[in-house]
């Protein structure tokens, strides 16, 4: 395979995986006696049918970008962050605190401080995982799973103890000065809850790329991720690197939590189950090939599918869980891209034949 072919594969493989995933999803719908065309049309309609829906789709995509980046970042440094879920939650809590209490801050500053608080809390929660791994050798998967649950109950406890208005299952609202919503945008999208958080998420993707591939810190983290022995010998602080990598990863997820509180709900609910953005983030990162831009695209795809799913139920009576199947298939084809390589080869052969003709 030459370099050019490799490049086209980077582009084509995901595309083919997505098409195949959707096609197989259609077959499954047919087998179940549903109308796949109506279903996909309803899905797209739900995702893009009106400015409101379009705005809500962006709202759905935003946290996915961030938790996707969290997972991808850790992955790039040799760590599997299955704990974005918990980092997300403590991020929400911290931004809630700042959003409610720090009312002495003026508008933009208040929001910025609240987002920063979310990032810091997420970073701290991630750093715990890194610390346990670096200092005590505890596998990051198991600590993250534990910390996810701990975060869920801890955040509930804090919300109930310090922020709960009588008779409610959610916190008091954050001050309007900390809102991430931009009034004219909200109006443009007929009250959809998209916010400046989307821009923050995109900025995070840019930061992700630059930090990892253009700074010395990123250089170190990648080296640690690939080969910690060589990194250690080359004078890098391996343990510090692991903690730092998990902290940055956690910060992304923490910002996701902040954006949900400051841009979507304006309060924090007492949760019975985690919202699941962390786990979806794993899928997003995988679809995106753990690259910054890829992760954004992965989040877009994931957001459209999950938000559009309700439309499918509504418009074609297809159980919304079908999109999970489609997402699974896409990830699967991407992971085992060997399965679909024959398809790309066939395309190439056909193109060459055409060119030859």
């Amino acid at each position: 395979m030459n370099a050019k072919e490799r490049n086209t594969d980077v582009f084509f493989l995901p595309l083919i995986a997505i098409v195949l995933g959707l096609a197989l999803g259609a077959v499954i719908m047919l087998l179940g006696g549903y109308d796949p065309i109506a279903a996909y049309r309803a899905l797209l309609n739900k995702a893009f049918g009106s400015m409101y829906n379009f705005g809500e789709t962006i709202r759905q995509i935003t946290p996915l970008i961030l938790t996707g980046l969290a997972v991808a970042f850790a992955f790039r440094t040799g760590l599997f962050n299955i704990g974005a879920e918990g980092q997300f939650l403590v991020g929400s809590l911290a931004s809630l605190y700042v959003g409610v209490e720090w009312t002495f801050l003026p508008t933009v500053l208040h929001a910025a401080a609240a987002v920063a608080a979310g990032a810091l809390a997420g970073a701290f929660w991630g750093a715990l995982v890194g610390y346990a791994k670096a200092k005590r050798g505890v596998h990051e998967v198991i600590t993250s799973i534990m910390l996810n649950w701990i975060a869920l109950f801890f955040v509930n406890y804090m919300v109930k103890t310090f922020f709960l208005p009588a008779g409610q299952q959610r916190s008091v609202a954050v001050a309007e000065t900390s809102y991430l919503n931009i009034p004219f945008v909200t109006e443009l999208f007929s009250n959809a809850r998209l916010s400046f958080g989307f821009v923050i998420a995109l900025l995070c993707a840019v930061f992700f790329h630059y930090y990892l591939f253009r700074t010395k810190g990123g250089f170190e983290l990648r080296a640690v991720g690939f080969n910690r022995h060589a990194a250690q010998y080359a004078g890098m602080n391996v343990n510090g690197g692991i903690v730092r990598a998990m902290a940055i990863s956690g910060a992304f997820a923490g910002i996701a939590g902040a954006v949900e509180v400051l841009g979507v709900f304006h309060y924090q609910s007492v949760l019975t189950v985690s919202p699941g953005y962390g786990f979806q983030g794993i899928a997003v990162a995988m679809i995106g090939g753990t690259a910054a831009f890829g992760t954004v695209l992965g989040a877009v795809l994931m957001g459209i599918l999950t938000f559009g799913a309700a439309g499918m139920k509504f418009g074609a009576n297809v159980p919304p869980e079908l999109v999970n199947i489609v997402i699974a298939l896409i990830i699967f084809f991407l992971a085992a891209s060997g399965i679909i390589k024959p398809v790309t080869r066939w395309f190439r052969a056909r193109k060459q034949r055409k060119e030859a003709a």
């Binding site: 395979m1 630059y210 253009r214 700074t215 010395k216 250089f219 990648r222 080296a223 690939f226 080969n227 022995h229 060589a230 990194a231 250690q232 010998y233 080359a234 004078g235 890098m236 602080n237």
Partner: protein, 513 residues
């Protein structure tokens, strides 16, 4: 048929292509029964590939194999086993947390009542085999607890246990001590005497001269020549192999000692359980010399290097660099203070295999101002520097953005050497710098080390290859059980004496200061 010589192995017109390279190009190889047949060639010439084909790990694209004059299709190692072919691999194929017996029986297990492993019976067989061929090992020992030489015996026992008659040895001596090498060569002789046939891949011409009957030389996937060893000589073989004349003589200027650069004083390193890997070790390394450390593997070399480079902190004693204590300092501060290090395991410590060449060459100074501008790495400059080093050190690679993983061992080693030498350290620590490399590459690396010395730098050379130590060093320290048991000059000793010291016999006086 009857009058043709008795060939057990015939490989006829073998071709094997890998993406972008023809590893074996119409190779013909005929091995006589009861002989030791050498395969010689540069790194990447295609020797391992050819043997992997014979062993059923690869399928040839073209060509035919005959075993005992019958055409065969060796589709996997099981088939090879049935044909009586066994292989001792270049990188040992041993499961580190299994016992010797478990490793030997793996894939050919003995059971009682049809279900349960019968370790005892297998162990008895192993014991019997090791007695028969003089391969002493403890069948119940864990692989990770035994020496490299013993591990190799396990590999040989593995093939014998399966009843192999044709044994392939891929660079078996690269990791052995001189004594172990002699023992191995004797074992090979005894194997052949009992009717086995051996194919030996090695870069060491001396070994070929010592035990082999025939040698086949491969260059860039093609057979250059196949000739009886008797009547040939190392120079001729080397020239055929590399395609040019190779000098085995290391040219050195006279020794000009100046000040002491590095000094170890009573360095001790004990692990959690108090076992001492280094036990009051002392030496001085002076500018303008190559100080060789000879010793059997596992006598503290690894730990010594780790202490000197800051990877571990000694539990006792002092390390002085140009008079300043550095024991326990971080690897980075030691490296910045002027210590360079060519690690023994290039894949583990030397390189980030998934980084490209440019990144690997900048692995230790990526943070230097020359590569940074307002916090951002200047990849343009990093690659520019890499191109320069690639030229200077003759690294064979398509470009500077090729992943280190894709290079041959020799070229990977050159990246490390380029990086460490270019940093212009006052002290260069080289651990096993030529392990597994061909004579051409070895020559190159030796020249670089001597160059450093000649420029007035201090070089600490740690090697298991006595020949390398003898030819390069100005002084030789022998390490045994974590102590330097003697310091000698190469001109006043010989391999035999060194070998004895390495085995712990009676340290030479005037030792350890």
């Amino acid at each position: 048929m009857a009058q043709t010589p008795n060939f057990v192995v015939e490989m006829i017109g073998i071709t094997k292509r890998f993406p972008g390279i023809v590893a074996n190009d119409d190779i013909h190889l005929r091995v006589k029964k009861g002989s030791i047949h050498a395969l010689l060639g540069e790194n990447g010439a295609g020797k391992s590939t050819l043997m992997n084909i014979l062993f059923g790990l690869y399928q040839p694209d073209e060509g035919e194999i005959r075993i005992n004059e019958k055409p065969v299709a060796i589709t996997n190692p099981n088939v090879a086993g049935e044909l009586g072919i066994g292989m001792v691999h270049q990188h040992f194929m041993l499961v580190h947390n299994f016992t010797v017996t478990e490793n030997i029986m793996l894939g050919a297990e003995k059971t009682k009542n049809g279900i349960q492993l019968d370790q005892r019976k297998a162990a008895e067989e192993v014991r019997a085999l090791s007695q028969k061929y003089g391969l002493a090992v403890d069948p119940d020992a864990l692989i990770e607890d035994i020496s490299v030489g013993q591990q190799q015996r396990v590999e040989i026992l593995k093939t014998l246990y399966r009843g192999a008659d044709i044994l392939i040895f891929d660079e078996p001596t690269a990791v052995l001590t001189p004594q172990e090498i002699q023992e191995l060569l004797a074992i090979m002789k005894s194997l052949v005497a009992s009717g086995k046939t051996i194919i030996l891949i090695t870069h060491k011409l001396k070994e070929i001269m010592q035990v082999c009957d025939t040698v086949t030389i491969i260059r860039r996937g093609k057979v250059v020549d196949s000739l009886p060893v008797a009547g040939s000589n190392p120079d001729e073989l080397a020239e055929k192999m590399v395609g040019r004349e190779v000098s085995f003589q290391v040219q050195k200027k006279d020794t000009v000692y100046t000040e002491t650069m590095l000094e170890a004083r009573n360095v001790t390193l004990a692990d959690d359980r108090g076992v001492k890997a280094l036990d009051g070790l002392s030496f001085e390394l002076r500018a303008g010399e190559i100080f060789g450390i000879a010793g059997v593997d596992g006598n503290g070399q690894k730990e010594l290097v780790e202490v000197l480079t800051g990877l571990s902190k000694p539990t006792g004693g002092e390390v002085l660099l140009k008079g300043k204590p550095i024991a326990g300092a971080s690897p980075r501060s030691i490296s910045e203070a002027g210590v360079g290090y060519i690690p023994e395991d290039r894949h583990k410590r030397g390189l980030v295999l998934d980084f490209d060449i440019g990144e690997n060459m900048a692995l230790k100074d990526y943070y230097a101002p020359k590569f940074l501008k307002s916090g951002l790495l200047q990849y343009g400059r990093i690659y520019e520097k890499a191109r320069e080093l690639i030229r200077q050190f003759d690294v064979r690679t398509p470009d500077e953005r090729t992943k280190a993983r894709a290079l041959s061992g020799g070229n990977q080693q050159k990246i490390i050497i380029a990086r460490e030498v270019d940093a212009n350290p006052d002290v260069l620590i080289a651990a096993q710098p030529t392990r597994g490399l061909d004579v051409g590459a070895i020559e190159f690396i030796h020249r670089r080390l001597v160059e450093q010395r000649d420029q007035g730098k201090a070089v600490l050379l740690i090697s298991l290859e006595l020949e390398e130590i003898m030819s390069l060093s100005d002084r030789i320290g022998v390490i045994y059980e974590g102590k330097l048991v003697g310091i000698v000059e190469p001109s006043k000793t010989d391999e035999k004496e060194l070998g004895l010291m390495m085995a712990g016999a009676n340290a030479k006086e005037g030792a350890a200061r």
